[in-house]
Amino acid sequence: MKPSPFSTTFTFTKRGLGLLLVFGGILGFLAIILIDILDVGRQGGIGPAQRIGLGLCIIIAVIGLSLIPLGSAEV
């Protein structure tokens, strides 16, 4: 039986970290896009900071995807 994430014996696996990064990257990407959709009064569309953020989110998600096949190896 797998230990709960809040047990004293739990540690992240490569797969677990991979999933975390994929979800984090996707959520971050959507959140950055939503800044412009929700805050319609802003000027200039997607700015340089947002572009850097979007790029980082994509990189994070890709790294996450590449970790998933590594399975139960500990992080």
Binding site: F6, T8, F10, T11, L67, P69, G71, A73
Partner: protein, 541 residues
């Protein structure tokens, strides 16, 4: 045939050791330059880097038991945006020696030596090689950025020292079996991060890396530690805010929100790569190796987080110093890479990446391992060439500079490979001369002559005269940029020509203050000191 195959590796080992010794000699040479530079600066009684004098003001205020976070709309319009710890550490020197620059610079310098020691210790602990540990520690001190800012009266390198000590303490904390001891070690490591944060706010990135590391290893432990960390750090924050009537928040947090100049950030990343690329490469390779073939170390997470500090290097007030933490991290990672390579200790457990990229080239493992014996010291030699900086004048340095064919490209006969390719690059590193000292005393004599308070962009002159320091121009600009500086009372004094002189170095004051100055004061003289033109303005008749 048998003889040949056993003799060749021996020759190769000998060659590798000779290259490693050469790299150690080169990097040790930079240590000598660094010591000479630090000694030179400690004897200079004025600002070498703009703002040092205001850090001395903070130190003097703490030595009197007063806060430097003050209302800037009331006389003497002084406040600070830096956390207190560095100045608190320096405060006892004020009791013994009065206001002076040398002890702040000495503390900064000693902090870099301690950091280098921690870098070397981390590499030795992970790799078990003295040569790799020595190369890493010396490489840290040889970095142009560390050289530039190490012996300054500034808090940045003390923050880096606490950050480095913290990650080295936490690196193996999770593996401690004894629960009580493990808790004490983690508490000590996190306390060091709090100390780093109350030295300079940028340490928040190191806090992020430390908690990411604890979380990945054991989420429950990280959450408990995180709550206690937040309570301790938050309590200090609230107490300081209460004790300063909210000025801590206004001056150190709110006034520190500044726009990023992306061209400056990109330029400084380019400079970072050009100078330290020879060690960034092995550091990044070790990080990738840990990600896919081993457990992630705190050093890899710290290195990644430290690039966040680098991203902020384009802010007003930021600069190449924002890469100092990443340099400590990359020196540790590249040192571990070097130790493993020299030990031939790389292992690749079977996974899809091993099957794709490693197994097809396994037959080249032995020659590749031998090649690494040469590649590693060559990387350090390449690093030694990339960070080249030294005086080109003087009895000791001139013959070496002549031998290397160096022409000075910085002030006062100095060569520095960290060329100015973007704004925000600190124009420092050269030695000061007697002419610089004389120029400073000339400005002091002018202030004495007026017998009245002066407005100066450098506090050192006022300390020399024994006058009260009025205003901290860069902080007033920070506040003005964030819309929380009024300036009416200061401008009234300027308009009434209350100040005997106004001394400008870089016109850092907010625009409305500068406008009042040029309207009511006129330039009387220009004094060149330490590469800057100090404009001396007197009241218009």
């Amino acid at each position: 045939m048998t003889t040949r195959t056993t003799a060749d590796p021996r020759l190769l080992m000998l060659f590798s050791r000779a290259l490693t010794a050469a790299a150690l000699i080169v990097l040790f040479g930079y240590l000598l330059v660094y010591i000479a530079y630090a000694a030179n600066l400690m004897g200079f009684p004025f600002d070498y880097d703009q703002g040092e004098g205001f850090e001395l003001v903070d130190t003097v205020l703490f030595s009197r038991g007063e806060w430097p976070y003050r209302n800037t709309d009331a006389y003497p319009f002084y406040s600070s945006n830096y956390p207190p710890l560095f100045h608190v550490i320096a405060a006892p020197f004020v009791w013994g020696f009065g206001p002076a620059y040398w002890y702040g610079r000495l503390l900064g310098f000693l902090g870099t030596l301690i950091t280098a020691g921690a870098v070397g210790l981390a590499v030795y602990r992970e790799g078990g090689r003295r040569d790799a540990a020595a190369l890493s520690a010396l490489a840290f001190l040889a970095a142009n950025t560390i050289y530039h800012i190490g012996p300054l009266f500034r808090q940045h390198m003390t923050m880096v020292m606490f950050e480095t000590l913290a990650v080295v303490v936490l690196a193996r904390a999770n593996e401690i079996d004894d629960t009580g001891r493990r808790r004490r070690v983690i508490a000590f490591g996190l306390a060091l991060i709090i100390l780093a944060g109350y030295t300079k706010q940028l340490a928040i990135f190191t806090a992020g890396a430390a908690f990411a590391f604890l979380f990945l290893r054991q989420p429950r432990r990280a959450l408990v530690a995180g709550v206690l960390f937040a309570l301790a750090g938050g309590a200090i924050f609230l107490w300081m805010n209460w004790a300063t009537n909210g000025e801590w928040w206004r001056q150190a947090i709110r006034a520190n929100v500044n726009l990023i100049n992306y061209d400056q950030t990109l330029g400084l990343f380019r400079l970072w790569w050009n100078l330290y690329g020879c060690l960034i490469l092995p550091a990044a390779l070790l990080g990738l190796y840990q990600l896919y073939f081993e457990r992630l170390s705190i050093y890899t997470l710290w290195f990644a987080a430290s690039l966040g500090q680098g991203m902020l290097s384009g802010t007003w007030g930021g600069g190449d110093s924002y890469f100092a933490t990443s340099i400590a991290a990359l020196c540790i990672l590249s040192g571990i890479f070097a130790a493993r390579s020299l030990n031939g200790a790389w292992q690749f457990p079977q996974n899809y990446l091993t099957r794709l990229f490693v197994n097809p080239v396994r037959r080249f493992a032995v020659p590749f391992r031998r090649a690494l014996l040469v590649i590693v010291p060559v990387l350090y030699l390449g690093y030694g060439r990339a960070v080249l900086h030294m005086p080109t004048e003087g009895a000791v340095f001139e013959p070496v500079a002549d031998l290397l064919g160096l022409e000075p490209n910085a002030l006062n006969g100095f060569y520095d490979s960290a060329t100015r390719i973007v704004g925000g690059y600190a124009d420092i590193g050269h030695f000061v001369t007697q002419a610089d000292v004389d120029a400073g005393w000339r400005i002091v004599a002018m202030i004495r002559e007026t017998g009245r308070p002066v407005l100066s962009e450098e506090a050192g002159f006022q300390f020399a005269v024994g006058q009260e320091v009025i205003t901290n121009p860069t902080q007033l600009l920070n506040l003005a940029n964030n819309g929380v500086f009024d300036g009416t009372a200061l401008i009234d004094l300027i308009e009434s020509q209350y100040f005997g002189l106004v001394i400008l170095r870089a016109q850092f004051y907010p625009e409305n203050v500068l406008r009042a100055i040029v309207t009511h004061y006129e330039q009387r003289e220009t004094v060149a000191m330490n590469g800057f033109d100090y404009l001396i303005l007197a009241p218009r008749p």
